[in-house]
């Protein structure tokens, strides 16, 4: 009987132990995406037809999420255009307008003289997938389709060169 009581007491007292609760876990922004497979969505392209990140597999891609109402996006646009021209044939710059109509994006692109491809992502699928915590958000994708780096906020052309350098070095 004593054995039974000891066993029952030990089991009962162990009820005091509480394992850690994993709780709610949230995404951690674009900076946490390095190494993850890059997600792609087929969306309309400014000028006609559709386009997606997956169509540029095999090339280094600088994916830039922006909107027309975002001041830092406006400030970054000249540097992005210069970077796209400077790296033509080496890096594909893909601008992705988040949630706006094609007409608004077209006006903006014209005003800033943007010549790189611009995707119209009304449902904000790229913004969701790349865990944008602000605008602009830039993602560098390697030739093998994996994210090299995610950057929150506007970049200078030097920062863009630095961001794509590891992807250009890798096979």
């Amino acid at each position: 009987m004593r054995t039974v009581l000891v066993i029952a007491s030990v089991l009962f007292l162990s009820a005091c132990y509480n394992a850690p609760d994993p709780g709610r876990i949230a995404g951690g922004g674009p900076g946490t995406l390095a190494g993850a497979p890059a997600q792609s969505f087929e969306v309309p392209r400014l000028g006609g037809g559709t386009d997606s990140l997956a169509r540029h597999r095999g090339q280094v891609v600088l994916l830039n999420l922006w909107t027309t109402w975002c001041p830092p996006c406006r400030e970054e646009m000249p540097a992005l255009e210069r970077f796209a021209r400077e790296n033509a044939g080496k890096v594909v710059v893909l601008g992705v307008d988040q949630g706006e109509s094609a007409s608004a994006a077209a006006r903006f692109a014209h005003e800033h003289g943007a010549t790189f491809p611009i995707l119209i992502d009304e449902a904000q699928q790229y913004g969701r997938a790349y865990q944008g915590v602000g605008l602009p958000t830039s993602i560098v994708i390697a030739r093998d389709g994996h994210v090299v780096r995610g950057i929150d906020g506007a970049m200078t052309i030097e920062q863009m060169r630095e961001a794509v350098a590891p992807a250009l070095r890798s096979k």
Partner: protein, 321 residues
């Protein structure tokens, strides 16, 4: 009732209590002291009976039952360990189209992309991926035992928001107070008390129009239940939208039914309501322990019954001669 019958009844009850963790997962009861006490008590009763059998109190039949009781004890201990040592049930909430690490499972959860149709039909899916193992796809009411965790989907209220300006141009939706800043899908993570109701709410913005909107989610029952101004014929959920400008000045309030466009604060908003799943992770007894315990319990019972019948026949023959 004999000690044998009482012990068997307790063993069956203990097994039922443990199997409830699989049949009705994610219930807080399994982590309470009362549940632990019930299983500990059942184990104590079985051990006490076994001690009595050791002293020869229930004869040969009692000794044969020990195999069944050993099986019940294994199930009991597995259930007790899962309830006491396993983590409390957790809900991993993720924005559609994103990947969220789940350290508790050593896996990454891929929350399936959701458009208005997926939310309205509640058909969102979650895929769990970890290195070197096959992926686990959870959809609908599916449940999966994964080691000592029971995985299931917990449907939660969700809304897909589309906004347009006065000229019909699509507007960007942002969620400045949420981790998913660029998502047009509201997951209603917070609650607000309004009268007798505890209502889920979420906030979004249309920065191009300098508007912030708050959406308060009502079930049809809650809509009908409002004492004043209740929507008596409500059959679908709806949200009450309130708008304000950048300075926080209120710009209006309106009721938005699912899929219907409403104008508020100079913005045309269409909210498609439905559900999107969260990943529910509940602790569960390990499958091997359940299989082993139930097998021993069944074999022990059958063995006792067969030997018991053989013994009775032998006894009857002995009496006849």
């Amino acid at each position: 009732m004999t000690a044998r019958a009482a012990t068997l009844a307790v063993a069956v009850l203990a097994i039922a209590l443990v199997l409830a963790q699989i049949v009705y997962p994610a219930t807080p009861l399994y982590h309470t002291w009362q549940y632990a006490a019930a299983l500990a008590l059942a184990l104590a009763v079985m051990i006490a009976y076994a001690n009595g059998v050791r002293r020869g109190e229930d004869g040969t039949f009692g000794r044969r039952l020990l195999l069944a009781l050993a099986g019940a004890a294994i199930v009991d201990l597995a259930g007790l360990a899962a309830g006491l040592l396993g983590p409390d049930t957790a809900a991993v909430i993720g924005t559609p189209g994103t990947v969220t690490p789940v350290p508790a499972l050593g896996a990454a959860a891929f929350f399936g992309v959701a458009d208005p149709a997926v939310l309205a039909s509640g058909s969102g899916a979650i895929t769990l991926r970890r290195r070197g193992t096959a992926e686990i796809v959870l959809a609908g009411g599916e449940r999966r035992l994964d080691g000592e965790s029971l995985l299931s989907l917990e449907p939660r209220p969700a809304a897909f928001v589309e906004a347009y300006d006065g000229h019909g141009a699509h507007l960007t939706i942002t969620q400045p107070t949420n981790a998913s800043f660029l998502s047009p899908v509201l997951l209603f993570r917070d609650h607000q008390r309004v009268g007798a109701f505890d209502l889920p709410f979420d906030t979004f913005a249309t920065p191009a129009q300098h508007r912030t909107l708050r959406a308060l989610y009502f079930t049809p029952q809650q809509l009908r239940g409002f004492a004043h101004g209740g929507v008596t014929d409500a059959t679908q959920p709806a949200v009450v939208l309130t708008a304000s400008d950048d300075a926080g000045r209120p710009l209006g309030i309106t009721l938005a039914a699912s899929g219907r466009s409403v104008a508020i604060g100079g913005v045309h908003v269409r909210v498609t309501l439905g559900t999107y799943p969260a990943l529910a992770i509940a602790s569960a007894p390990p499958l091997w322990a359940l299989v082993l315990g139930l097998a021993l319990f069944s074999i022990g019972l059958v063995w006792s019954a067969l030997r018991g019948r053989a013994g009775a026949r032998a006894g009857a023959q002995a009496q006849g001669t």
